[in-house]
């Protein structure tokens, strides 16, 4: 065993070094090599590490970044898979990077963002102390299939985490249904009130009761299928959260101030990112922090001061004006960006970059489940829309059929031309790319305007 561990760790560390020497930051291949040499390596490496696992469809990265900031401000030693390497290979590689050659951990804690499908295997191997499930939405149907399948994978992951405190989004009928199927201690978190005055109308990803298939009723909705759901047939309903947002006090383009109730105590927190979905990410992270037992005032500071970067509301300074990148992966996330746009007070250029590589989802049909029609109401606010990416053709057609005047649409076949156009004009820019479009565009923008390599 020991020999195998040393071999696997050495091989992985060497491959990572080699890849970086040639300017690549990948961790999937080094991880794969290590697992090939020693299949149970991860469980060995994670044995003495206190692990937080963050999974769910949307918000994994932002939630993980907030949790990281909480560790930083508590002075705790930790590591995290910050480059979005959230499958078993990448996660194994990050544990190796943070262990000695003999497989002893260099740090006591780990914040691990984990793909929903990979969570069952990852949880089995690392035996997490806390699991946070953010939500379950439709996502990349070519890869994941139905939401019930995704949910099933997450459930198995938690069943493989017998020692974990499980933090669940109470407002998501799919996520909350996990609670009755596990013996673990559960902390529910949620938002008790609507978030937007005039949210985009969108199809619910879960209109029918997960337990009895009767249609849900809602006392209020925040967005998507999230909110105060109630099944009039079997009585399954939103559980009472121990941690909840009770009022939205102030939202601006860069932050949101909310009133929260944490185990019966009222408090006010400022979330250092705009957007309704980031309210969920913040209270989810707060739930994790309570599960670990961190001091609440330090956690509050972390939520008020974290920065996310890496395509999640990441800001680039283009001289006289700025650009923000908001990564999208599915209709739910995309609709949230439209909600965010509609709340802006300043004229803005909107940029959509649609790719169809496997990390984006090979099927681009989902853009028709996004309520781009909402952009029609923002005619004054958004004078021009730029379109780019591998499937810019499909994106342009979608916007045309959403009622956008073709004269407002500008299609760019490559990112250099797109960046030139964004720089030349003077309005702030909001860029909404899919994953691989974000990676490509971000790399170009980082070298043009400054920024970090993605593995830093």
């Amino acid at each position: 065993m020991k020999i195998k561990v040393i071999l696997a760790v050495t091989a992985c560390k060497l491959t990572i070094k080699l890849l970086r020497l040639i300017g690549r930051g990948g961790t999937a291949i080094p991880g794969k090599i290590a697992i090939r040499i020693c299949p149970d390596l991860l469980s060995y490496l994670a044995k003495d590490v206190n692990c937080i696992v963050v999974t769910g469809t949307n918000g994994k990265t932002t939630s993980s970044r907030i949790i990281e900031e909480i560790y930083v401000r508590n002075g705790a030693s930790y590591f995290a898979n910050r480059s979005g390497a959230n499958l078993i290979n990448g996660i194994t590689a990050i544990f190796i990077e943070n262990s000695t050659l003999t497989g002893r951990p260099k740090k006591q804690n780990a914040v691990i963002e984990c793909d929903e499908a990979a969570s069952k295997e990852v949880c089995r191997l690392i035996d997490p102390a806390v699991v946070l499930v953010t939500n379950v939405f439709r996502d990349q149907l070519d890869r994941y299939g139905e939401v019930s399948w995704t949910l099933q994978n997450i459930l198995i992951g938690i069943k493989n985490s017998p020692n974990a405190v499980v933090c669940l989004n109470a407002d998501c009928s799919l996520t909350a249904s996990i609670a009755s199927q596990i013996p673990n201690k559960v902390i529910f978190y949620g938002v008790d009130v609507p978030i937007y005055k005039d949210p985009v109308s969108e199809v619910s990803d879960a209109p029918y009761c997960i337990k009895c298939k009767h249609e849900y009723e809602y006392s209020y909705r925040t967005f998507g299928h999230l909110g105060g759901f109630y099944c009039p047939d079997c009585g399954y309903k939103r559980p009472e959260p121990q941690i909840s947002v009770t009022d939205i006090l102030k939202s601006s383009v860069s932050s949101t101030k909310v009133r929260v109730r944490v185990f019966g105590e009222d408090d006010v927190i400022t979330i250092n990112l705009p957007g309704g979905y980031n309210i969920y990410n913040a209270v989810g992270a707060l739930a994790v922090s309570e599960a670990v037992g961190f001091a609440r005032n330090v956690t509050k500071d972390a939520i008020a001061g974290f920065s996310c970067g890496f395509g999640r509301m990441e800001q680039f300074d283009m001289g006289s004006h700025s650009a923000r990148i908001i990564l999208v992966k599915n209709p739910a996330g995309c609709n949230q960006v439209l909600n965010y746009l509609s709340g802006l007070s300043e004229k803005t250029i909107f940029v959509c970059c649609l790719n169809d590589n496997s990390a984006d989802g090979k099927d681009v049909s989902w853009i028709w489940d996004v309520n781009f029609e909402k952009l029609e109401d923002m005619d004054e606010l958004i004078p021009e829309i730029y379109v780019s990416g591998i499937r810019s053709g499909d994106m342009a057609v979608r916007l045309k059929y959403a009622g956008i005047n073709e004269a407002k649409l500008k299609v760019f076949d490559d990112y250099d031309a797109l960046i030139r156009a964004m720089t030349k004009q003077s309005l702030p820019v909001i860029i909404m790319p899919t994953y691989t479009a974000m990676m490509d565009l971000r790399a170009k923008m980082s070298s043009a305007f400054g920024g970090k390599e993605f593995w830093e």
Binding site: K213, K362, V364, G393, D394, V397, A402, G403
Partner: protein
């Protein structure tokens, strides 16, 4: 002028952006000065089927199938049959296409009875037929080349009473075996084509609309539109698949 469109089961058959077909039909009619009145008919809702000119059924998740079949067999199946026989135009995609057939046989051997409007049936398999695909519509269905995305594990086999909608150029189509894609019977058009089907296949979209308009307003001819964006998106996928 007005066309009455019925969107069947928008509450459950709403996966993979198929609703884009409704958006597309509505816009292409409006751009020609024709009103499009879209009636949503979710589970439990009823309507007078005789007033509709065009029906759309999309694909959905297996999870809601039971709820849907109960509603279908409580009377809507007979109304749909009558509308089909009355030469009403139907566009049926993926799950909605399968549902117009006789039955679905799961790979464990259980049979699920469907509407039976079309002489075809579907057999479940373990292998998912998934990816960008392209097919050529037969002459009797307009002859357009259609690009889209297929994602199904069911293999559909056509009986003698229906014709294939077209011939597969790239991808799997009905079953990955006989080179056919979709089905055509009277004015019913069934296909596995997500994407959604109509927006970047404007020639086929207009073919469907023309069928519905001709039935309601004999002699009416659709005027051409500026389809440069649509054609660009269409041609990009044709070229990409031809290179494969």
């Amino acid at each position: 002028m007005k066309l009455n469109i019925c969107h069947l089961y928008p509450d459950v058959l709403n996966l993979y952006g198929d609703t884009g077909n409704i958006i597309c039909m509505k816009k292409r009619l409006e751009w020609r000065g024709i009103d499009a009145d879209v009636t949503l008919l979710p589970i439990g809702a009823n309507a007078d089927f005789t007033r509709f000119d065009l029906f759309f059924i999309g694909g959905g998740q297996d999870f809601e199938q039971e709820v849907l079949l109960a509603d279908l067999h409580s009377g809507k199946d007979r109304e749909i049959l009558a509308a089909v026989n009355d030469e009403k135009v139907f566009l049926c995609i993926c799950g909605g296409y399968q549902m117009m057939g006789q039955y679905y046989l799961t790979h464990t051997g259980a049979q699920c009875d469907y509407i039976g409007a079309l002489d075809l049936h579907t057999v479940g398999s373990d292998v998912r037929m998934i990816g960008n695909y392209m097919f050529g519509c037969s002459e009797q269905s307009g002859g357009a080349t259609v690009v889209g995305f297929e994602n199904h594990s069911g293999k559909t086999y056509l009986g003698n009473a229906v014709s294939p909608l077209g011939t597969v150029i790239q991808g799997f189509g009905n079953n990955g075996e006989d080179g056919t894609e979709g089905a055509r019977y009277k004015n019913v058009f069934g296909a596995y084509c997500h994407g959604p089907m109509l927006p970047k296949n404007p020639e086929f979209a207009d073919y469907i609309l023309q069928r519905a308009l001709s039935r309601r307003f004999p002699g009416y001819e659709l005027s051409p539109l500026d389809d440069s964006l649509e054609t660009k998106a269409h041609s990009y996928m044709v070229n990409r698949m031809e290179k494969q």
